[in-house]
C-alpha cells in the first residue's frame, strides 16, 4: 500500500493549531513513517498544493481572496478535509472584525483611524490579497469531512483524530476531550 498523502494548510488563523500539531512530539516521527507530507507550512517547502491528497488539516477561517482560492483548490484535490481548530470551525478570533460590518470599515479602522504617521489604505493587487467582506468558517465555503474544534486543539485531540484515519477508520468526535471549543 502506498503511503498516505498528507497535507496541512494555514488560512486565517494564528498558527497556534500548527504549533499544537508540533506538540505531538515523538508521535510525529511515527506519523512521518506512515505518511508523505506533500504540503504544509510546517513540514514541506512546496509552493503549490498537489493533486491526489488523502488528508488535509485546514487551520483558520476564510478571510481573503487567497484563502478562498486555495481552499477551493484544496477541496478539489483532497479526499478527507479536516476543519482544524476553532478558527476553521467557527472563524473565531479573526471573525471579530465581522462585527465592524464589512471590509471597508475594517480597513478604515485599522489603517486610517489607528494609522500613525502616514495613514493610507493598503492596495497592491496581486501582492496583498483583497479582504473578503466577512471572515467565515471553512465549511461555509466547501464541504468538510471532519470537524476538530479547539483553540488550539490539544496534541492529544489531534492525535486521536488522525490516528484512526491512518488505519482507515473514522475518528469518534464525541465527548469533552474531542469536542470542547476554546
Amino acid at each position: 500500500m502506498s503511503k498516505i498523502r498528507f497535507a496541512t494548510i494555514w488560512l486565517a488563523g494564528c498558527s497556534g493549531c500548527h504549533m499544537s500539531f508540533l506538540d505531538m512530539d515523538e508521535w510525529l516521527i511515527e506519523l512521518a513513517d506512515q505518511v508523505d507530507v506533500v504540503y504544509s507550512p510546517v513540514g514541506s517547502d512546496l509552493k503549490d498544493y498537489p493533486e491526489n491528497v488523502d488528508v488535509c488539516l485546514v487551520e483558520g477561517g476564510v478571510a481573503n481572496e487567497d484563502n478562498l482560492e486555495l481552499i477551493q483548490q484544496v477541496r478539489d484535490r483532497t479526499k478527507t478535509l479536516i476543519s482544524f481548530g476553532d478558527c476553521a470551525v467557527t472563524a473565531n478570533i479573526p471573525a471579530m472584525r465581522n462585527m465592524l460590518g464589512g471590509r471597508d470599515p475594517v480597513l478604515k479602522r485599522g489603517y486610517i483611524e489607528l494609522g500613525d504617521n502616514s495613514p493610507q489604505l493598503p492596495h497592491e493587487p496581486g501582492i496583498v490579497p483583497e479582504l473578503l467582506d466577512q471572515v467565515i468558517p471553512v465549511h461555509q465555503v466547501v464541504p468538510i469531512d471532519i470537524f476538530m474544534p479547539g483553540c488550539p486543539p490539544s496534541a492529544d485531540r489531534i492525535k486521536a483524530t488522525i490516528e484512526p484515519l491512518l488505519n482507515g477508520k473514522e475518528p469518534a468526535m464525541e465527548g469533552r476531550e474531542m469536542l470542547k471549543f476554546g
Partner: protein, 541 residues
C-alpha cells in the same frame, strides 16, 4: 332599564326616523379617502336644498367594499355610490328629488354583496356606531335580555356548544367547550377578555367590527360573562386602531348609562364591567398568554401552556378569552337559537367567516361568507378575479398560514379543509396572488414578518426564524445549494416542533406550504456550487 325600556327606546328611535336615511361610511378605510368631508357636504347640501327634515345623514361603519370607498348608500332606495368625492355630495342629495347624481353608482346585486351572509356584520354599514339608541333600534341588547331573563348560565353555554361555533381568532377551538371549562372552574373570581389585537399583516376584520358595531361585541361579552360567571372584562385593542378605541369608549359609556353594563344589569343580579386595554402593536400580544401578561403590566411574552387561561389566566384566575368576531356571533346565536346557527356552514365549521380580501384582485374589501363556500367562488365571483391576469395562489391564515394553488381553489372554506391543503382558516386574511408572483419571495416576506415579531423568548423562534429568513434570502440571491434547501426544510420542522408559542410553531408554514406546491420555484434557484457543507463519509487510503 328592562326589556320594555329597550323596546321603548327602539320605538322612539324609529319614530324619529326621516323618509330617507343616507349612510356614509366613516370607518378608517373611507375616512382615509375623505369620507368625513363627504358626510359634511351631504349634511350641508341637505340643508341648502331644504331637505333637512326628509333625510338623516348617518355616519356608519364599514360596508365592506373598502377598495371603492368612500361609500354612500341611500335607504330605503338601496342606492349605492362608490368613490364619492366631497363635491359629488350635492348631486347625491339632489337625486332624492329626481336630480342627477354624478357619483359612480355601485351595484348591490353584484356577487361581492349578494353572495355574502352577514351575521356578525349584519348591522355594519347600517347602524350608527356612535349611538346606542340606533343599535337598540336594530334590535340590540335583546339577546342580553333573553339571556338574563329567560336562560340560566348553563343553558347559554349549552346553546353555544350546540351551535358549533368555533373561535374566530385563528385556532378554531370550539367556543362552547371553552366556555364550559371556564364556567366549571371553582372560585368566585373570573375574568373575560376580548382579543382585538389583530396583528396579521393586511387583516382588518376585527377593527372593522369594532368600528362599525361596537355594541355588538359588548353585548356578546356581557352574555359570555353571565354564562361563565365573570364580572370583569377587558377588551384588548392595539393602539394603531384609534377610531375603534374611541368608539368602544363611547359605547361602553353609553351602555353604562342605560344600565347595560355596570351593577345589576337590566335590573337583574348580574354585574359586569368592561375596561379597555391598549396594546402597543406587537403581533405576539395577540397570543393569549402574552396578551394576559401584557394586561398584567408585564412584557408581552407568551408563557407555556398548560395551564391554559381557562384554568389559570389573568392574575391567575380562570379567564375566558375569545376573539372579537367570536363574541360578535353570540347575540344572534342566543336570540335565534343554536339550530338556526348550526344550519349554516358545513359539518364541522358552522356559521360564517369574515375575510379581508386583498392582493391582486378586482374587488378588495371585507366579506362575510358562509362556511363551505369555495375559494374559487370567493376569488372569481365575488372578487372578480385578477385584473388582466390569472390567479396563481391564494394565501390564507397570514404568517401562520399557507398558499393554496389555483388547482385547489375548489377547496371549501372550512377549518378542516383548509388545514388539509396545508393552510389554515386563520383570523381572516385572504391574499390573492397572480402568475407573476414569486412564491419564494412570498415565503420570505412572511418569514421577515415573523422574525421581526418574534418575542425573542425561545431560541427556535428567535434564532430559527432569522436563519430561515437568511436561507430564503440566500435562495433568492441564487447562492444556495441543494444542501441549503435540505437544511431549510429540517429547520422548518424543528422550529415548528420546538417553539414555545403559536407564533414560532406556525412561522414555517408559509415556507412549508409553498414548498409543497411550488417546489420547482425553489429548485430553479439552486446552484451547483455555493457556500455550503456536506458532512460526507470519511474514506481514505
Amino acid at each position: 332599564m328592562d326589556r320594555e325600556g329597550l323596546l321603548e327606546i327602539a320605538e322612539a328611535e324609529k319614530n324619529q326616523r326621516k323618509r330617507h336615511r343616507i349612510h356614509c361610511c366613516t370607518s378608517t378605510g373611507c375616512q382615509a379617502a375623505s369620507s368625513l368631508d363627504v358626510k359634511k357636504n351631504l349634511t350641508k347640501a341637505a340643508k341648502e336644498q331644504g331637505l333637512s327634515d326628509e333625510v338623516d345623514i348617518v355616519g356608519v361603519g364599514c360596508m365592506g367594499f373598502c377598495g371603492n370607498g368612500p361609500l354612500v348608500e341611500i335607504e330605503p332606495d338601496n342606492q349605492l355610490y362608490e368613490t364619492v368625492t366631497p363635491d359629488q355630495a350635492e348631486g347625491i342629495i339632489s337625486s332624492l328629488k329626481g336630480g342627477n347624481a354624478s357619483a359612480a353608482q355601485g351595484n348591490l346585486h353584484h356577487p361581492f354583496f349578494s353572495r355574502q351572509m352577514p351575521i356578525v356584520r349584519e348591522n355594519s354599514g347600517k347602524v350608527d356606531p356612535e349611538r346606542i339608541e340606533d343599535y337598540i333600534a336594530f334590535g340590540g341588547y335583546q339577546a342580553l335580555c333573553k339571556a338574563l331573563y329567560d336562560m340560566t348560565p348553563e343553558e347559554i353555554v349549552e346553546e353555544v356548544r350546540q351551535s358549533g361555533l368555533r373561535g374566530r381568532g385563528g385556532g378554531g377551538f370550539p367556543t362552547g367547550l371553552k366556555w364550559a371549562t371556564v364556567a366549571k372552574m371553582p372560585g368566585e373570581r373570573k375574568y373575560l377578555i376580548c382579543n382585538g389585537d389583530e396583528g396579521d399583516p393586511g387583516a382588518f376584520m376585527d377593527r372593522s367590527v369594532l368600528e362599525s358595531d361596537p355594541h355588538r361585541v359588548i353585548e356578546g361579552m356581557a352574555i359570555a360573562a353571565y354564562a361563565v360567571g365573570a364580572e370583569h372584562g377587558y377588551i384588548y385593542v392595539r393602539a394603531e386602531y384609534p377610531l375603534a378605541i374611541k368608539r368602544l369608549e363611547k359605547a361602553i359609556k353609553q351602555a353604562k348609562k342605560y344600565n347595560l353594563l355596570g351593577s345589576q344589569i337590566l335590573d337583574s343580579p348580574f354585574d359586569f364591567k368592561i375596561d379597555i386595554r391598549i396594546g402597543a402593536g406587537a403581533f405576539v400580544c395577540g397570543e393569549e398568554t402574552a396578551l394576559i401578561q401584557s394586561i398584567e403590566g408585564r412584557r408581552g411574552n407568551p408563557v407555556p401552556r398548560p395551564p391554559y387561561p381557562a384554568e389559570k389566566g389573568l392574575w391567575t384566575y380562570p379567564t375566558l378569552i375569545n376573539n372579537v368576531e367570536t363574541f360578535g356571533n353570540i347575540p344572534p346565536i342566543v336570540e335565534r337559537g343554536s339550530e338556526w346557527f348550526s344550519g349554516i356552514g358545513t359539518e364541522n365549521s358552522k356559521g360564517t367567516k369574515i375575510f379581508a380580501l386583498t392582493g391582486k384582485i378586482e374587488n378588495n374589501g371585507l366579506i362575510e361568507v358562509p362556511m363551505g363556500i369555495t375559494l374559487r367562488e370567493i376569488v372569481e365571483e365575488m372578487g372578480g378575479g385578477v385584473p388582466d391576469g390569472e390567479v396563481k395562489a391564494v394565501q390564507t391564515g397570514g404568517p401562520s398560514g399557507g398558499c393554496i394553488p389555483e388547482n385547489l381553489l375548489d377547496t371549501p372554506v372550512d377549518y378542516d379543509s383548509l388545514k388539509e391543503v396545508g393552510s389554515m382558516m386563520g383570523s381572516g386574511g385572504m391574499v390573492v396572488m397572480d402568475k407573476g408572483t414569486s412564491m419564494v419571495a412570498i415565503a420570505q416576506f412572511y418569514m421577515d414578518f415573523c422574525r421581526e415579531e418574534s418575542c425573542g423568548k425561545c431560541i427556535p423562534c428567535r434564532a430559527g426564524t432569522e436563519q430561515l429568513y437568511a436561507l430564503l434570502t440566500k435562495l433568492l440571491k441564487k447562492q444556495a445549494t441543494a444542501a441549503d434547501l435540505a437544511k431549510m426544510e429540517a429547520l422548518c420542522e424543528m422550529v415548528k416542533s420546538t417553539s414555545l408559542c403559536g407564533l414560532g410553531m406556525t412561522a414555517p408554514s408559509p415556507v412549508v406550504s409553498t414548498l409543497r406546491y411550488f417546489r420547482d420555484e425553489y429548485e430553479e434557484l439552486l446552484q451547483e456550487r455555493g457556500y455550503s457543507q456536506v458532512n460526507g463519509k470519511v474514506t481514505i487510503g
